[in-house]
Symmetry: C2
């Protein structure tokens, strides 16, 4: 692993554990086994490092989610596929996932929230797209697609956090049945 990647990995570790603001550039560099100028050679600023971290880790996820969110004629199936993608990613990248959630819920005017903004927007667009495409199934949603997608995202996130809190293991494993139960619960709430 080269220095650039090592810096990103260290930053993820530290941001995950203590948060962006509480971690100094100095410490990231030291724990990566490099000096500050090396860090600034690869990333133009501390904020740039965060952006690149979110971008590089988030891109594969959003790519996979985009595939999963192609509407295949059934809302439940599509939502299951989306949830499946999220769960898989959370299993592979637990620390990044938790970091993402923390920043998702952070203060709106903070740097950290500004940094996740692009990911959040794309994530919401994907899910909203599913509800738009499912208009025939669901009937008139009275423009509540946004509300539904926010709720769905929140529910999936909540489930992952719960898992992360409860499980002894490091990763977050979610079975197919759990995914289906989650989506079923969500849809039942919507239909009623």
């Amino acid at each position: 692993m080269d220095n650039r990647e090592r810096i990103l990995e260290t930053a993820l570790e530290l941001f995950y554990a203590r948060g962006y603001d509480a971690v100094g550039v100095q410490e990231i560099a030291e724990k990566s086994g490099v000096t500050k100028p090396t860090l600034y050679y690869y990333f133009k600023s501390k904020y740039g490092l965060l952006e690149e971290l979110l971008r590089s880790r988030g891109e594969p996820f959003l790519e996979a989610l985009h595939q999963a969110c192609v509407y295949r004629g059934d809302l439940k199936d599509t939502l299951c596929a989306a949830a499946r993608t999220v769960a898989d990613f959370a299993w592979k990248e637990p620390k990044f996932s938790i970091l993402f959630v923390a920043q998702y819920y952070s203060a709106r005017e903070s740097e950290v929230y500004q940094a996740v903004r692009p990911l959040v927007v794309r994530l919401q667009k994907e899910i909203e797209g599913v509800f738009d495409a499912a208009a025939d199934d669901l009937g008139n949603m009275h423009g509540r697609q946004r509300q539904f997608s926010l709720g769905f995202i929140g529910l999936v996130i909540l489930y992952l956090i719960m898992k992360h809190e409860t499980e002894e293991t490091e990763g977050i494993a979610v079975s197919e049945q759990e995914i289906e139960a989650l989506v079923h619960q969500f849809m039942h709430g919507i239909y009623s």
Copy 2:
């Protein structure tokens, strides 16, 4: 309003908007119309200010929640009462509520999380107590009270955030029907 209260109010405002770490003591003092030594006269440190903010605002809420969580023979009723209490508080203290959520999901080793820890623990204890008391209704929960309570708390929080995102208004108003629908959805998921 005296200086002490004004400092707390200003801190809440700023922490809510930009987060604890990103806000300096200097700014809190200036925006409160006092100088730094005055702030340190009332609170022994920046962290102490945060603790006092959480304590003073959180205490009334936990007190009300404790009343609501007295088991009255029916799980649904009790959960509705608890959700009602949360919703009422979120209506009265929207900024504090959002700040609480942000810190609830923040990095586990961060100062902010350490500071909300006491509130989180008491909140969870209250809800867990409901599920414990409802063992007769629910049957054997196989020690999943903790998981249920985490899920319930998360769901209520999620609902509030969703409201806060969606509504144009500042406060978060939740009708009785919405509360009941939320609890019903949660319990349906549990029973199935």
